[in-house]
């Protein structure tokens, strides 16, 4: 009995997934009605549900899926053409199946709902569609059926050779058997085949695909996964504490090299466990986006509109808990766009637009957050109507209203109940529940921005954080306290020294600094956070300026110094701390202490930093800046050669003391934030790649410290040793790839001098060493 329940549960879960796929397939099929792969996939899904429902004795489910299958069979065979009516009927079928499955899930039985009407509708649609085509074509049916069957039989020989396939799959066999037989019975033209081989075919089909699916993924309880992640988090902290105890140079510990070895191993294993556990939380946003083709289609039909939906970046990953939170707000925004944004075809034609509107959904990672853009080419929001409404509702005075920019006026649609009145339709109806959208997104630390242009369209950008994600961050110190700044916002670091080439100037009372000719506003973190009572300008002679860029703001955050940099685990903080506006979250450091993560966006607003006047970035802040010219890190190798590295291949720059570096397994490694990074001399590597040998590692030099360029994480944990960093440049000159040696992408002109651009990717040997690979062990404490 119990076993049967388990089968039913599995059937329900699988079918729910299949139905979602079916929704997508059907909508996609409308675009391309003759796509045989889609049709086959749809047919297969319905067939599976029908078969399984027969096995469990779900008669209603069996009956409607049978009718649906019949209709689909005709579609597949080309007997009928796909029309709106056919698609509509099939979508209704999907909904009916879904509702029956829900009832089964709740009550264990199919319930009392009557679906005979649906079966009849499906049959009628099929008949009418056939009738629409002329009689002579009826002959085709037989021909196509004749063609279809031999193909199935061809698979028989292979499958008979695997009789063991029968054992684990009695359910499938039992359910597919009658279907296979009835399929034969329905085709009178075909000679009766012995039943046995056909059964083997039916069994073999699941067998062929089953192993791959079974091995690739299993179902795990979400709660269990959550507690696993929590436990791993605790383990990481305990590991860090263990490590700092061991590293504290206590003589009793130093006498135990075996202990150090064990600690090192625990360290490595924990690191691997942590990153694996974190990955289990990440899921593609497709889970939300995949529902939209169906929603948009239904809505467009209801509203009498034509809408073309484009989805991009469905594989963008974010934390599962966030996926659930953004589902409703996104659905709301999409509904708004179709219902109120995109105009009816006649209106569009009148305006000179194509009759079919475009709605694009784009998801991408940006500055350590996920941005989801909902963009329509509809009528836009009539700003004047919003302005009038805001005045009418007493939100602003008439004078104030005139002084507000259009963008500022648009913000009113996020006011609670702003457009619930009759004026909704006048104001294009946008804003129904926009306050709810905003509240929900802000509750998870996200933002909602809206931009609209009359008759051109509306773009809504939802930005959500990757809570719980691990992000690279810079740990800075200020008045004795540590703070984290996400690396994604950090453009560069400038040390302030008395007499150095950079200097702090005052501009109308506000401190600014000239960075490469551009005046950059400065924010003194200690003053902003009221960390001590000393006057502003205290750091003018020393300290570090972190140049931060976020959205349209760029400013220098003045801190005392940089403590470290590394990956941090972002932990959520209480809402009342987020609402302070300075902090985005917190993290726990290796010593167990909590460190606040600064929110550069909030700081820019609190410090009243003006948005950057130039349009270079402001025009479309969320587009991943393809307009920007490539930036290079210019550095000098140990041999004195000047080379440029594409900045996108560089993760950070670090200076190591020779004490931090170790020789292990013939390679030079350095301990960096709890992981091992292989060090290589850039000269050696360039030489090595031309001689086709990898050159990771180099002979230890007598130098007390060495400068290394840590390559982008995707390339591996590798640091390239150089003599010194010259600067970061933005090259106007095109990359010329004439006459380039191995390991070199090409040359660019810098200051009239041709400089080689290094192909970092080609230098890193195939599979980079993982942190804590077994061959690496700690040699010294």
């Amino acid at each position: 009995m119990n076993e049967n329940e388990e089968f039913v549960r599995e059937f329900l879960v699988e079918s729910a997934e299949n139905l979602d796929q079916l929704d997508q397939d059907l909508v996609a099929l409308e675009e391309n009605p003759r796509d045989p792969k889609r049709l086959a996939s749809i047919f297969r899904t319905v067939h599976t549900i029908k078969g399984t429902s027969g096995f469990f004795g779900f008669a209603k489910l069996g009956a409607i899926t049978h009718s649906g299958e019949h209709l689909l069979g005709q579609l597949r065979d080309g007997t009928i053409e796909l029309s709106d009516r056919v698609t509509g009927a099939l979508l209704t079928l999907v909904d009916a199946v879904r509702s029956i499955l829900e009832t089964i899930e709740k009550t264990g039985s199919e319930g009392d709902a009557d679906f005979r009407d649906l079966s009849q509708t499906l049959a009628r649609v099929a008949d009418e569609a056939v009738a629409e085509r002329q009689d002579p074509r009826r002959g085709d049916i037989v021909v196509t059926r004749l063609n279809a069957l031999p193909a199935e039989q061809q698979t028989v020989p292979q499958t008979v050779a695997q009789p063991q396939a029968m054992a684990p799959l009695p359910a499938a066999a039992a359910t597919l058997l009658p279907t296979a037989q009835s399929a034969l019975a329905e085709s009178p033209v075909v000679e009766p085949e012995p039943t046995q081989p056909v059964v083997a075919t039916a069994i073999a089909q699941p067998k062929a695909s089953a192993p791959a699916v079974v091995e690739a993924s299993i179902r795990v309880d979400v709660g269990l996964l959550g507690s696993l992640v929590d436990l791993v988090g605790e383990l990481v902290l305990a590991r860090n504490q263990l490590q700092s105890t061991v590293n504290s140079d206590r003589p009793d510990v130093l006498k135990r090299p075996d202990l150090l070895k064990v600690v090192q191993r625990i360290h490595a294993v924990t690191g691997g466990l942590q990153s694996a556990a974190m990955k289990t939380r990440m899921q593609p946003i497709d889970q939300v986006l995949s529902k939209f083709p169906r929603i948009v289609r239904d809505l467009a039909v209801t509203c009498g509109k034509e809408v073309q939906l484009l989805i991009d970046g469905a594989d963008t990953e974010l934390d599962r808990s966030l996926i659930e939170t953004i589902r409703d707000p996104l659905t709301h925004l999409v509904r708004n766009a179709v219902d109120h944004g995109i105009e009816a075809p006649a209106v569009r034609t009148f305006k000179g637009k194509p009759p079919s509107g475009r709605l694009s959904l784009r998801a991408f990672h940006e500055s350590g957050r996920v941005t989801i853009e909902i963009k329509d080419d509809g009528g836009g929001i009539p700003v004047e109507a919003v302005r009038a409404k805001a005045i009418a509702r007493g939100l602003i005075g008439p004078e104030e209203a005139r002084s507000l920019s259009d963008d500022q006026v648009l913000q009113f649609i996020f006011e609670p109940g702003f457009s619930t009145a009759a004026a909704v339709t006048d104001v294009s109806g946008r804003g129904v529940g926009m306050d709810v959208v905003k509240t929900n997104i802000e509750a998870i630390g996200g933002t909602v921005d809206i931009a609209s242009q009359r008759d051109v369209g509306t773009t809504v950008r939802v930005r959500v954080p990757l809570t719980l994600a691990i992000i690279p961050a810079l740990i800075v110190t200020c008045a004795g306290q540590r703070f984290a700044i996400p690396q994604a916002y950090v453009r560069e670091l400038i040390a302030l020294r008395a007499g150095s080439s950079v200097s702090v100037e005052g501009l109308a009372g506000a401190p600014v600094m000239r960075v490469r000719g551009r005046l950059t506003p400065l924010v003194f973190l200690d003053a902003l956070l009221d960390l001590n009572m000393q006057s502003v300008g205290h750091h003018a002679e020393h300290g570090t300026v972190v140049i931060v860029r976020v959205d349209d703001y760029e400013f220098g955050l003045v801190v005392e110094g940089i403590a470290s940099s590394g990956d941090i685990v972002v932990k959520p903080i209480a809402g009342l701390i987020v609402s302070l506006g300075f902090y985005a979250g917190a993290t726990v450091m290796g010593d167990g202490a909590v460190v606040l993560i600064l929110d550069p966006r909030g700081i820019a607003q609190k410090a009243m930093i003006p948005a950057r006047p130039d349009q270079e970035h402001a025009s479309d802040a969320s587009t991943p800046a393809p307009d920007e010219q490539p930036r290079y890190l210019l550095c000098e190798t140990v041999s004195g050669r000047q080379v440029a590295l594409p900045l996108e291949d560089v993760s950070r720059l670090e200076i190591f003391s020779s004490a931090q570096c170790e020789q292990a397994a013939g390679r030079m490694v350095v301990h960096r934030d709890g992981r091992l990074t292989a060090l290589a001399d850039l000269d050696d590597m360039l030489e090595g790649v031309s001689e086709k040998r990898p050159a990771l590692g180099f002979k230890a030099s007598a130098a007390a410290s060495l400068t290394a360029v840590i390559v982008a994480e995707s390339l591996g944990d590798v640091g390239l040793r150089v003599k010194r960093i010259v600067e970061v440049i933005q090259s106007q000159s095109p990359l010329s790839s004439v006459l380039c040696a191995a390991g070199v992408l090409g040359t660019i002109a810098i200051g009239g001098r041709a400089t080689e651009v290094i192909d970092v990717r080609s230098l890193i040997p195939g599979k980079p060493s993982l942190p804590g690979a077994p061959s690496l062990s700690r040699v010294s404490a």
Partner: protein, 167 residues
């Protein structure tokens, strides 16, 4: 069926029990208590990370096995003078709306059972600064125990130093 006002009030939303468990603690020599059902654990002194610009009673964040928990200094929250810098304290971790908060108190007294009928409204003429979060009082044999509303304790610190300065 019930005579006293207090009983009727409690009986309406909590039918069965005749006593309620409270977690009692000392702050500046007075006994306060919070609903024991809201308390998840009690910790000894913890390392705190200050949160600049937050309400002054929000003394900092502590790390509760990887969870970030704001700690509320109950002396400051209830309007008393700050404790001496070296004074020891105890953290009582409570849940408020799904989030965890730690109440920093001078000393934990005990978990006590209070007869629901004996819970009284606080006197209206009290000029005590802690009044905003005192939901009720109970006259124990040893003296008055102030019963605090945990939600109000947290809600009261949502305004910030920064906002106050800007005003």
């Amino acid at each position: 069926m019930s005579q006293s006002n207090g009983l009727t009030r409690v009986a309406s939303d909590c039918p069965a029990p005749t006593t309620q468990r409270f977690c009692a603690f000392l702050v500046a020599g007075r006994v306060f208590a919070v609903d024991a059902a809201r308390v998840t654990e009690v910790l000894r002194g913890q390392l705190l990370t200050p949160v600049p610009q937050a309400h002054r009673a929000l003394r900092g964040l502590l790390n509760l096995r990887g969870r970030i928990v704001p700690a509320i200094d109950m002396r400051l929250r209830l309007g008393f003078d700050a404790a001496a810098a070296d004074a020891s304290h105890t953290n009582i971790v409570v849940t408020v709306g799904g989030e965890y908060f730690s109440l920093m108190v001078d000393q934990l007294v005990d978990v006590i059972e209070i007869p629901v009928g004996a819970i009284e409204q606080p006197t209206a003429d009290s000029d005590d600064p802690s009044r905003d979060s005192v939901a009720a009082v109970y006259a124990a044999a040893s003296g008055l125990i102030y019963l605090l509303d945990v939600d109000q304790l947290v809600a009261g610190i949502s305004d910030t130093e920064f906002e106050r300065k800007m005003r």
